[in-house]
Amino acid sequence: MTELHTRRSEFIAGIRDTFPLVIGAIPFGLIFGALAVNQGLSPAAALGFSLFVFAGSSQFIGAGLVAQGVSMALIIFTTFIVNVRHALYGATLAPYMKHLPQRWLLPLGFWLTDETFAVVITRYAKPDRSPFKHWYHLGSSVIMYLNWNLWTFIGLVAGQSIKPEDLTRLGLAFAMDVTFIGMIMGQLKSSPMVLAAIAAGLSAVVLYGMPNKLGLIVAVFIGIGVGLVSERLMGKDEPVTPTVESNIDGMPS
């Protein structure tokens, strides 16, 4: 495909491809805004969580700990544990972003979420030589950020009239799961990759009871280990570049 990539086209494609995940984040933003004030945060602080911390799970956990009267030091430490998985995303993205100046790395680092990582790693790994892939990354980041803060704010204002059960019934949160399913399937191109996915998924279920999402990160390491070991056992050395390129139609081209 000889499509011409411009800053604008990449930015818009980043927004477009993140859209299902934006939908998936809506109920969580709403519920966070609605519940945070019940948990003893001031409305300004609730919005401050979304504006500055900008990390869904840890915002919920942090607000919950505030409600329980846990000490500030422990809340901050817990937040670190919950969010340390982002370091893995940074390591995975780093080879594709090392040419970028700080004025790009700082904001894109700040905005790095599960969702944006999932979308942009696919774009970076595409073999085309577009010089504006970071604009795609920017589009994904900005739309996730604006969306999260918008729905936090609406949740704050609507407050008591929001019933989490009604939102659950809509099933919007499933939009994230189903998008991730499509992305995973597009990357399962070798048996080690399939085994890694299965191992990580099952481990995450078994380890779900671990506090502070630690089960998630342990499951990822188990999955990586299973992938590497089965690669060796099968004698199939995959190319060493961290490609996760996807041939899925409907993904950014």
Binding site: L41, F49, F52, V53, V66, M72, I75, I76, F77, T79, F80, N83, R85, L88, Y89, G90, A91, T92, L93, A94, P95, M97, Q102, L105, G109, F117, I121, R169, G171, A173, F174, A175, D177, V178, F180, I181, G182, M183, I184, M185, G186, A196, A199, A200, G201, A204, V205, L216, G223, I224, G227, E231, V240, T241, T243, V244, I248, D249, G250, M251
Partner: protein, 106 residues
């Protein structure tokens, strides 16, 4: 509790793992074994995020028919496998969820 300090602290410990490794790893020559390991990050992270969503209900495994996330998730996996089309997977997966819930209410 001083909310400004709390937000400042939480912001810092969230920003550091996000930005720090991204900025640092770009400057050093990454050893090959690490490269190889990192290829598995996207697939394993996404699997580890969705598997509990599909299989667990209130912390325990739910394989009953009324687990609409699991049913629609399986349908989405099949659609994705057969069509290799992400958008179709999302649309049919969401449709499957709503239909399943209508047929098998919680």
């Amino acid at each position: 509790m001083n909310e400004v300090l709390l937000i400042l602290g939480m912001t810092l410990v969230t920003f550091l793992p996000r930005y720090g490794v991204l900025a640092l790893m770009g400057r050093i020559e990454m050893p090959q074994p690490l490269f190889k390991a990192l290829r598995y990050v996207p697939v394993t992270v996404l699997s580890a995020i969705i598997a509990p969503d599909l299989l667990l209900k209130d912390g325990s495994v739910n394989l009953a028919l009324n687990n609409s996330f699991l049913a629609a998730g399986i349908i989405a996996i099949l659609v994705s496998w057969r069509t290799k089309n992400l958008l179709l997977t999302i649309v049919l997966g969401m449709a499957a969820l709503w239909v399943w819930r209508a047929v098998f209410p919680v």
